[in-house]
Assembly symmetry: D4
Homo-oligomer: 151 residues x 8
Amino acid sequence: MQLKVYLSGEIHTDWREEIAHGVRDAGLDVSLSGPVTDHAASDDCGVAILGAEDNKFWHDRKGALLNSIRTRKGIEDADVVVVRFGDEYKQWNAAFDAGYAAALGKSLIILHGPHHAHALKEVDAAAQAVAETPAQVVDLLRYVLTGALPA
Amino acid sequence: MQLKVYLSGEIHTDWREEIAHGVRDAGLDVSLSGPVTDHAASDDCGVAILGAEDNKFWHDRKGALLNSIRTRKGIEDADVVVVRFGDEYKQWNAAFDAGYAAALGKSLIILHGPHHAHALKEVDAAAQAVAETPAQVVDLLRYVLTGALPA
Amino acid sequence: MQLKVYLSGEIHTDWREEIAHGVRDAGLDVSLSGPVTDHAASDDCGVAILGAEDNKFWHDRKGALLNSIRTRKGIEDADVVVVRFGDEYKQWNAAFDAGYAAALGKSLIILHGPHHAHALKEVDAAAQAVAETPAQVVDLLRYVLTGALPA
Amino acid sequence: MQLKVYLSGEIHTDWREEIAHGVRDAGLDVSLSGPVTDHAASDDCGVAILGAEDNKFWHDRKGALLNSIRTRKGIEDADVVVVRFGDEYKQWNAAFDAGYAAALGKSLIILHGPHHAHALKEVDAAAQAVAETPAQVVDLLRYVLTGALPA
Amino acid sequence: MQLKVYLSGEIHTDWREEIAHGVRDAGLDVSLSGPVTDHAASDDCGVAILGAEDNKFWHDRKGALLNSIRTRKGIEDADVVVVRFGDEYKQWNAAFDAGYAAALGKSLIILHGPHHAHALKEVDAAAQAVAETPAQVVDLLRYVLTGALPA
Amino acid sequence: MQLKVYLSGEIHTDWREEIAHGVRDAGLDVSLSGPVTDHAASDDCGVAILGAEDNKFWHDRKGALLNSIRTRKGIEDADVVVVRFGDEYKQWNAAFDAGYAAALGKSLIILHGPHHAHALKEVDAAAQAVAETPAQVVDLLRYVLTGALPA
Amino acid sequence: MQLKVYLSGEIHTDWREEIAHGVRDAGLDVSLSGPVTDHAASDDCGVAILGAEDNKFWHDRKGALLNSIRTRKGIEDADVVVVRFGDEYKQWNAAFDAGYAAALGKSLIILHGPHHAHALKEVDAAAQAVAETPAQVVDLLRYVLTGALPA
Amino acid sequence: MQLKVYLSGEIHTDWREEIAHGVRDAGLDVSLSGPVTDHAASDDCGVAILGAEDNKFWHDRKGALLNSIRTRKGIEDADVVVVRFGDEYKQWNAAFDAGYAAALGKSLIILHGPHHAHALKEVDAAAQAVAETPAQVVDLLRYVLTGALPA
């Protein structure tokens, strides 16, 4: 069994790398994907390729539509969608991805600190697991794939 | 033609009533639905009916799962899902609903002030319209149903 | 909002009537359906209409296939599927119905005594609510439809 | 042609190994998967990774939700779902899996002794085959793949 | 509960009328539909409305495509599809309708004499019931709707 | 049987009215819908309700997205989609609607003069009927509903 | 591009081999599948593996259900379903497969002599091509894959 | 991540080659497909393989149906559908493909000169990006796959 895992949400900490390293160290057959995590590129990609916009709203729209090609592909192909909520920003796109994945019947793992628990209760309730650390996500994936629990 | 419209999001202002009045005044064939908007009931419904929980996490889970019966029914039955982002709280459930509705191919109208535009760009990009006021939502629904524009 | 509710499972106690009375007393817009609850008719319907079978296995098959017309129609049309596990019999058809409903994305309410909790943990985990009494099911439906909690 | 086969149900006898050996001996292009079959790990996986729960109900819930990632992936990817009902335990998760697979349109093979036939009649009626022994399951898979019947 | 029933197949005997009378006499909430049963109109409808064709193949094609509007609508809306195989003609369109309905997950009742049993074994195997007479079909529908067996 | 029919395409001739009159005169149980046919309103609806745009591209985008709420609702609810290609304009939205409807499995009737036949061959090939006049469309709908051919 | 092609229908002539040879000679990237074509094995497979039946009807049922595992897998995986109608037998299973494939949106090629054209008009009308010879089927597949027409 | 990209529309300029070269030069993991671009073969393929037709309408129909096998396969397998509108011909099949792809939820890139913008506004509004040059399409695909923007 191989698992395709999409890593959605926060782009300002190295949680994706922690999961990638953990998965590699554990020798798991996991294929990871995620959004473009370069904040500036992600914001400006639309106008950089398709031409400038005077209006910031449409500047943003062009970028968001372009990024959605990658996001939708990643989520639709995934077996498991991990959504990380960090401490900064509104992160509405993360919650949007979680809802999108839930409607498609994907298995969801939500990753956040305990202080977000009440605000995320509807999102958590749609999930198969709620983790606090990337290491726990690795443990979850290892168990799903191999049945092995942490020592 | 009748439109079934689900009103998701903010529960602390009277935007749902404004839309309901506007739709009634305009004589539109619109059927409105939405979540339970009594904040306390919505938070405590699970334990109130099914028994108390010591752990707040599971207290919340019981409520969120129960509320999801109504939310999913409302969104799945809707032709149009309006999602309102207000000025307070994280409102991740609103963004989750938007993602859920988008994945089901529902027409989306996002309702928010201009200061939220950048943070909501991915959500807006999945929508058929981005409005700033409930009156605009009424105008949108009237146009969809009758072809009439505001005077 | 109207809710279509399918009542699956145990046929030897009057739990369906309790829910029907509760729903009627509360004035809820709920449409109830369920399987044929006459045990003998349900077992023998196939051969009674289509001709006897020497082999009990095919006697059962004819009946089960015929009953599945009603069961599938009821579950597929439902917004909410309530599955009751009683104290007697294997009740594998109840668990089968729960799995069938879960795969279709129906909201599930599982109704059973606490002694069944461990054996039903996979079924409960797919549900929006786990209730112990028919009165709780009525309370759940009232809350979903009206937002009102028990006094 | 390759067949992906998910082996659901009983975890206390070696029926999965019998099928695996039979399939290997027959040189069939079959890819087998199944749930985690270590009973203790399966029961405790949720709390072992995500933290202990005082309440057994939520202890079980955490584990069941985690196991569902693997179960759903296995069933959704499968061409054929084999469900084994043994002689012990309630095995409601086995019947749940059968219903889940049936709703997804998977081909089902139900494996049980004749004494369970009446109690499983609704499950059997949704199946392409009802077998009594793992060797018969191997014969069924060989016939589907190669057209060869047992000597 | 209401059942929508599509009556496919043979158009040269009065089996549809027998079922219609039986359903009416039994007071069942059944809505019946079916193809155009005027053989000549059914063959010539395409060219009669859209213009003549020199080539019989395209004469037939125009009619068959037009008839498919009604057939597909009837089958897609139905809860139960009854397919009657009579004694004359190839009746490949009846078997095609059965396959179409099966792929959509409709409940199927196949109606034919015992001499057709071997030739129809694949079609029968996809069905919930195999009947020999229209009266049996009425009995099946009555049981599904009311739970009542024939006296 | 009732037919829901969406009338897509050309908005500069009175073909919709011809079909509406014909259907009414024939007493057919047909429910007609279609896009907003006021060309100016259709072009400017987005900015009229949601605010002006300097850039014509986004002016158009706002209107097209708003109109898509009605168009998608109409097509998704329809049993039959009639698409009319007239003699003026590019009419790419008509062909887009035809493709959208075809992918959803809707029955298609294409309405155009013979000079467009070669250019529309891919669109016609996805259709159940190709008509030249609104009167023929009425005849097609009458036949589908009643089996009656033109005198 | 690779094409997965399922070859349904007649099992008493060597048309499948002709297509297989033609495809190989043309060097096409085509993956062929089909039912078990050993008539006796196909009829008796169910009882040979799962035990004898006194009643021919259930003897046939066991075989037909078992064969449906392969048939459904083949059709559901296919890009193109070729259905061959020969000169003997009722061949209702061939027409059933055609209907099943049509409902799944598969591309259909129907292969039959001109004398069957009228009886197969509904089946042909659901197809992308109607061929008379296996060589034409090879030509069709070559054109689809390479754009090359016969010399 | 690999992207499967279908290139629909104009067949009289070398835009497909430009994209193919650009993708190759950039070392992107992109799999390109498209329709048969030999205009004469595409028009005549049906009659060349399946026999001549006196009537041009059916000559065209045979070809269009045959081409649809490749077109549907290409679109249904694609992650991204690029649709090019050139300066000549009606190009209704291009708009049809865009509608077909949109209804399937594919990511769309529309490629056209600015003079077509108003006529294509409904098509553009369903797209993730609107480009003017093949080089921009390559830049879009590179960004989606690698996150890299043009230098």
